[in-house]
Amino acid sequence: MATTASFVIVSRNDIPIYEAEVGSAAKKEEAAQQHQFILHAALDIVQDLAWTTSAMFLKSVDRFNDLVVSVYVTAGHTRLMLLHDSRNDDGIKSFFQEVHELYIKTLLNPLYLPGSRITSSHFDTKVRALARKYL
């Protein structure tokens, strides 16, 4: 498992709808904030890059210092973004695919307004479990 990893789902309106610090490193508030900044900045790159490929998994699109941003763009232009310091593309890809499935399940909930925050604790638990498994 990566020592540092931060996972964010960003809706098509560029609003983060799910955030999780999934790294095994000691959680520091300062670092978590920096992660958010990096992920937020990476959106600029994703926005151009997403249209250059038909693949959903964009691999690592951006980096800052030794942190890398990997992105997975769904068909609805929801972006699953992972900030990590390990180079484990396969694991990350599997992680993204599984989370995508989970996200679709959330979307299917008639009470969920697409684009609003995902507050389901079940989703959170599952995502964290997937992170432990793949990252």
């Binding site: 809706s11 309106n13 560029d14 609003i15 937020h40 951006d62 980096r63 684009g115 609003s116």
Partner: protein
């Protein structure tokens, strides 16, 4: 590293611009700006200043198209250790700026300039420009030979022209100096070194190497000067040589430098004509530049000096060159590499410059988020330098990021974005997606961090307003994410900032509280406005919904329009708007003042101050006075809180609430304070109209409400005063509401007589009201109230009647702007008559009591009775003293009472008196002076004697008041049916009941009437006929001793004398007579029977054991009694046994007419009509 580098930087001549002597800041900036306009001097324009001393080394100088470029460094810069490596880093000229008025001594200025120039050893040309000199200075200056240039005071254009000339002169001088330098360098050669070259240990090998390298370095430098001189072709030639030589000597660093120069020469040669081929070439060469810089990295002196900054600069130069949207990927890669390099940079300021440049390039590329990210990195680096200037820089850099992070101050927000938000908010029901877009980029963590950093840097920079604004934004937007302790910290930050601010300062960013529009109290009923209909006399009609239905489909369109533009305010009359404040934070909030903010300028808002405890919300009423006719727009409130005045817009909060409803923003501040959800309120168009009259009402003597017992009658006086500034010319009173009939009278005339009512005038209007009966439920309410002991408060219900007073000023119409004549509005004053009806005497039961006491047969009483039987019984009011009376028509003692059982559940005593209105006397006939008193919590029975109502004559008029046919002798008419009988009956009962009045008094001034109609009606329903109508025949018995004289001549004087004591004695002939009276208007034929019964009820006249003997006829006496006459039949009885006997007369009426039948309630016409008199008692004494 240097900021703002590009490939062309190599061709720019550095000029230090230094202020000489004191120069005001603003002026210095103006002069520098003037200079900066001349940063490009064309070669063609300087030819007149140029003199070729010897053959120019710049053989290919493009005199017609080339130019010299200047880079002005205001304030100069320290010499760079890399000056030798890149000539453009040298400061080649120094320009002093002197402001003559502030430095009068020119010599001193020249000295100052000279010493300033000493710091720039590399400067080839120095000039000191002295602006706006005085006359003496001008004179002085003309004799000078030094490099002081005086600019005579002139207008802007002339000065610019002067400056241009001087710059061209400088350019020419520089050009000549460059030629000199190059010629010298070519001939003698110079030693060129960089910090990279190891100084300490020059081994023999190194010395040889250095010698070899010297030539290439010299060529590179000459190339640099060619570039500066604006001759790219010459430069290119020299660079090519230098490249060749550097490659041979392995001097990578200088190789890279020469390569950079050659690219610059290439670009300048092409004069900005960029084509893809050239772009590829530049990219290729620059990649090579970067590679060679990297190659030149030497491990052993890496701690001291590193070519890394050159590598990064080259990267940035290339990125800047490529910086276009299409090449974004390349640029991003380059910038990514550059950013990675930041870690290895030794100098912190280099890192700062690098991040600044990266941020700028990303910004140029349109990657605002990336730009913001690096801007924040810059700010962080600034913050690490713990000083005020750095903090100011950090604050300013962060301010540029706020737009991207969507936390910008409202002051810096563009008008455009505001409009978008407002249009969203106005439409109310927006599509989900557009709602979402309103809350785009809600990266709350990031936003909070940025705001916190702005706050921190503002505090450190000593900018209290910026700090206040940041703290306000932080607190307002992110309070749910901040711990109470943090919220307190922010509150104190706000307070601390406010202390340093001048009082009354405004800030664009609102802090707390949250304010939303609660409601507009649509006109209080007292000042209701009515559109006047000038065509009608009742001008108010038509404005209020007419007809029984609240909703009519036809008026729908109208009402919709009205609701949107319904708000009308009147000049000079205070208005109120309810707003709700919420303080969702964990500290007590003191709002020093809050008032409606109106930008239309015709509204005086009245400020109030509010205290909001933590986590609370409050609805407050804000008031103000419209001052001029026009429209009023209320976008929000102005709040003075935490020492700063801010404007809180309603639409912002509406937006927030909309987002909260969708789950997009963190929390609804009102909900978390426990305030209920409000409907989205549409702000009406408010227009102000010119002054109208204003009536105010007051019920005289009854402040709260009149408390009345059921049925109580009271006079009230209503005082009306004109509180407006316009006289009232029309007025009308109408009634409305429930229980309207409680208002017995209102004096319309009083009001009409005082018109026009001048401002300030007052009028009293008397009105009489009568309390209504409480319904069943109201009784219960009253009962429960009583039980709970809150009797004093009148129950809040709307059962009271209301007086509607329509009034208006003069009809003179105003001229509106659109030339439309508009009649000024009328008004309606609603005066609710606050009547609180308390349960008074309550009616329990009504019964008709009826009994007959057989009359003793005496000589006198029947006589007295018969004397009274004289048709107009009604005219004997003196008989009313006693309640037990002889029924004049029947002759018996009759008791017939209406018994009313009343209970008094109240806590006061009541006195009851009963009176009737008799039929043909208009005055009230007080039945008795005795009053029945009912104490509290007691009940009592009131008896109302009823025989007074008995009609003297049984005639058809009673039954057939409106049916003439029934009177006809022809017999029964079909219309004389049961139905009409019933109708007549009920009419008759009504008539009867309306004549009974039960009045009560309580205390000193409560008086009223008991409403017993229904009760009496039900009690009388069955027996009204008996009560009201006399029997057709009246029978009476009497001893006829006196009469016998007239008839028979038998006189029994003993008996006469003893009759008073013992009228009838056994074993004696007792003469009697039966008196039959016909009460109808027809002659009645009948057969009369007289029976005598003993105590046991046995007939004692007939049969085996008869104890009474008789003389005369007792049975089947046929007699005919004329109308309203009496007939007497005499007989004699002989009682064998003393005791009590009862005499009863009965008659069988022959040929009865309809009236009699109706009276007797016969069912079939053949049924015999039997008429029976009341029993008469005979006490027979023994003889012994």
């Amino acid at each position: 590293m240097e900021p703002d580098v590009s490939i062309e930087t190599c061709s720019m001549i550095r000029v230090a611009v230094l202020p000489i002597g004191p120069v005001p800041h603003a002026l210095l900036r103006d002069y520098a700006a003037m200079l900066a306009r001349h940063s490009r001097i064309e070669l063609a324009s300087i030819s007149s200043f140029y003199t070729e001393h010897q053959k120019s080394p710049f053989a290919h100088q493009p005199w017609d198209s080339g130019l010299l470029q200047f880079k002005f460094l205001l304030g100069g810069s320290p010499p760079s250790p890399w000056e030798d490596f890149q000539s453009h880093r040298k400061v080649l000229a120094v320009i002093g700026i002197c402001h003559c008025p502030s430095s009068p001594d020119l010599d001193e200025a020249v000295d100052l300039f000279g010493s300033a120039c000493r710091g720039y050893a590399s400067a080839l040309v120095t000039r000191c420009f002295a602006f706006s000199p005085g006359d003496s200075q001008l004179e002085d200056g003309q004799n000078r030979e030094d490099n002081l240039v005086l600019f005579p005071p002139a207008d802007m254009q002339t000065q610019e022209l002067h400056l241009l000339t001087m710059m061209q002169d400088i350019a020419a001088s520089l050009l000549m100096e460059f030629e000199k330098w190059v010629l010298k360098a070519e001939s003698s050669g110079t030693l060129l070194k960089t910090p990279l070259d190891s100084q300490a240990s020059l081994s023999s090998e190194e010395v040889i190497k250095a010698k070899k390298r010297r030539l290439s370095r010299a060529q590179k430098t000459i190339g640099d000067y060619c570039l500066l001189a604006g001759s790219p072709v010459d430069a290119n030639a020299h660079y090519s040589t230098a490249l060749e030589l550097a490659r041979l000597t392995g001097d990578y660093f200088w190789y890279a430098g020469a390569l950079e120069g050659s690219v610059c020469a290439l670009l300048i040669d092409r004069m900005g004509q960029i084509d893809p081929v050239l772009e590829e070439e530049v990219k290729y060469r620059y990649n090579s530049v970067i590679m060679h810089y990297r190659k030149s990295f030497i491990q052993d002196n890496a701690q001291r000096v590193s070519p890394l900054s050159f590598e990064l600069e080259a990267t940035l130069k290339l990125a800047r060159f490529l910086c276009r949207r299409e090449l974004a990927k390349d640029v991003v890669d380059l910038l990514g590499t550059a950013a990675d390099g930041a870690k290895s940079l030794i100098d912190a300021s280099d890192r700062l410059i690098l991040y600044v440049e990266i941020a700028r390039l990303y910004g140029t590329l349109g990657y605002q988020r990336k730009a913001a990210f690096f801007s924040r990195q810059v700010a962080q680096l600034y913050m690490q330098q713990e000083n005020r200037l750095a903090a100011i820089s950090a604050m300013q850099v962060l301010a540029t990021t706020t737009k991207t992070y969507r936390v910008q101050s409202r002051a810096s927000m563009s008008k455009n974005s505001n409009d978008i938000i407002s249009s969203h908010a106005d439409s109310g029901k927006t599509h989900n997606q557009t709602v979402l877009s309103l809350f785009e980029s809600q990266w709350s963590t990031i936003q909070m961090v940025v705001l916190r950093e702005i706050l921190l840097s503002a505090v450190r920079a000593g900018d209290p307003l910026a700090a206040w604004s940041a703290a306000a934004r932080l607190l307002r937007s992110y309070y749910p994410l901040i711990t109470p302790a943090g919220q307190n910290g922010l509150a104190s930050a706000l307070a601390n900032s406010a202390e340093r601010l001048p009082s009354g300062i405004r800030c664009a960013d609102p802090a707390l509280p949250f304010i939303r529009l609660h409601s507009f109290p649509i006109h209080p009923l007292q000042v209701d406005l009515i559109k006047r209909n000038p065509a009608r006399d009742d001008w108010w009609a038509g404005s209020a919904p007419s007809g029984p239905f609240i909703y009519t489909p036809f008026s729908k369109g109208d009402t919709n329009d009205n609701s949107k533009q319904a708000m009308l305010w009147v000049v000079g009359e205070p208005v109120q708007v309810l707003v709700e404040l919420a303080n969702p934070c964990g500290f007590d909030l003191v709002v020093d003042s809050i008032y409606l903010s109106v930008h239309t300028g015709n509204f005086d808002a009245i400020p109030i101050s509010v205290k909001l405890p933590s986590n609370s919300s409050k609805v407050i009423s804000l008031s103000g006075i419209p001052t001029a006719v026009g429209s009023v727009k209320i976008p929000g409130c102005t709040v003075h809180c935490f020492g700063v005045i801010t404007e809180h817009l309603f639409k912002d909060v509406d937006c927030l609430l909309l987002g909260a409803a969708q789950g997009l923003v963190l929390s609804d501040p009102f909900r978390c304070c426990g305030s209920p959800k409000l409907k989205n309120l549409v702000v009406p168009n408010i227009s102000v109209i010119s002054p109208l009259p204003l009536l105010v009402s007051r019920v005289v003597g009854g402040d709260g409400g009149v408390i009345l017992y059921e049925g109580e009658i009271r006079d009230v006086r209503i005082s009306l005063a004109n509180a407006g500034t316009v006289p009232i010319e029309q007025a009308h009173i109408a009634l409305s509401g429930k229980n309207q009939d409680a208002v017995i009278s209102v004096s319309h005339e009083t009001l009409q007589s005082v018109l026009p009512l001048k401002p300030g005038a007052e009028v009293m209007i008397p009105a009489t009201i009568k309390a209504w009966q409480l319904g069943l439920t109201e009784h219960e309410i009253a009962g429960s109230k009583k039980a709970s002991g809150s009797m004093g408060r009148p129950p809040k219900d709307n059962s009271s009647p209301m007086l509607l007073i329509y009034y208006a000023g003069s009809l003179a119409s105003e001229q509106q702007s659109n030339n439309e004549k508009v009649v000024p509005y009328g008004r309606r004053l609603v005066v609710p008559l606050q009547i609180c009806v308390l349960q008074g005497l309550s009616f329990v039961n009504a019964r008709l009591l009826s009994m007959e006491i057989p009359a003793d047969i005496t000589e006198n009483h029947p006589k007295a009775a018969s004397s009274e039987v004289s048709n107009n019984e009604v005219s004997f009011p003196e008989r009313i003293d006693s309640l037990v009376k002889i029924d004049p028509n029947r002759g018996s003692w009759g008791l017939r009472f209406l018994e009313l059982e009343l209970s008094n559940p109240t806590d006061v005593g009541f006195e009851i008196s009963v009176s009737f209105e008799l039929e043909n006397s208009s005055s009230d006939d007080s039945l008795s002076n005795t009053k029945t008193r009912i104490d509290r919590d007691h009940s009592s029975r009131v008896l109302i004697p009823l025989e007074h109502f008995k009609l003297p004559v049984l005639d058809s008029s009673f039954f057939m008041k409106d049916n003439a046919q029934a009177n006809g002798p022809s017999g029964r008419s079909p219309s004389f049916s049961d139905k009409s009988t019933k109708a007549e009956l009920s009419a008759c009962i009504k008539n009867l009941i309306s004549r009974i009045k039960v009045r009560w008094h309580s205390g000193r001034n409560s008086a009223g009437e008991l409403d017993i109609k229904d009760a009496v009606k039900s009690a009388l329903q069955t027996s009204v006929m008996d009560v009201l109508l006399p029997d057709p025949l009246t029978f009476g018995f009497r001893l006829s001793r006196n009469a016998s004289k007239d008839e028979n001549g038998d006189s029994d004087t003993h008996n006469v004398s003893s009759s008073s004591t013992s009228p009838v004695v056994a074993h004696d002939m007792t003469r009697m007579e039966v008196l039959v009276r016909n009460n109808t208007r027809e002659t009645i034929k009948m057969s009369l029977n007289i029976t005598c019964r003993d105590v046991a009820g046995e007939n004692c006249v007939e049969g085996d054991k008869a104890t009474v003997l008789w003389d005369g006829v007792l049975n089947d006496i046929t007699m005919e009694v004329p109308s309203l006459q009496e007939t007497i039949h005499r007989f004699t009885l002989y009682f064998l046994v003393p005791g009590e006997y009862t005499l009863v007369a009965a008659a069988l009426i022959e040929d009865a007419n309809e009236i009699l039948r109706a009276r007797a309630k016969t069912t079939s016409p053949d049924e015999p009509i039997f008429c029976r008199g009341p029993p008469f008692r005979v006490r027979v004494m023994g003889t012994s």
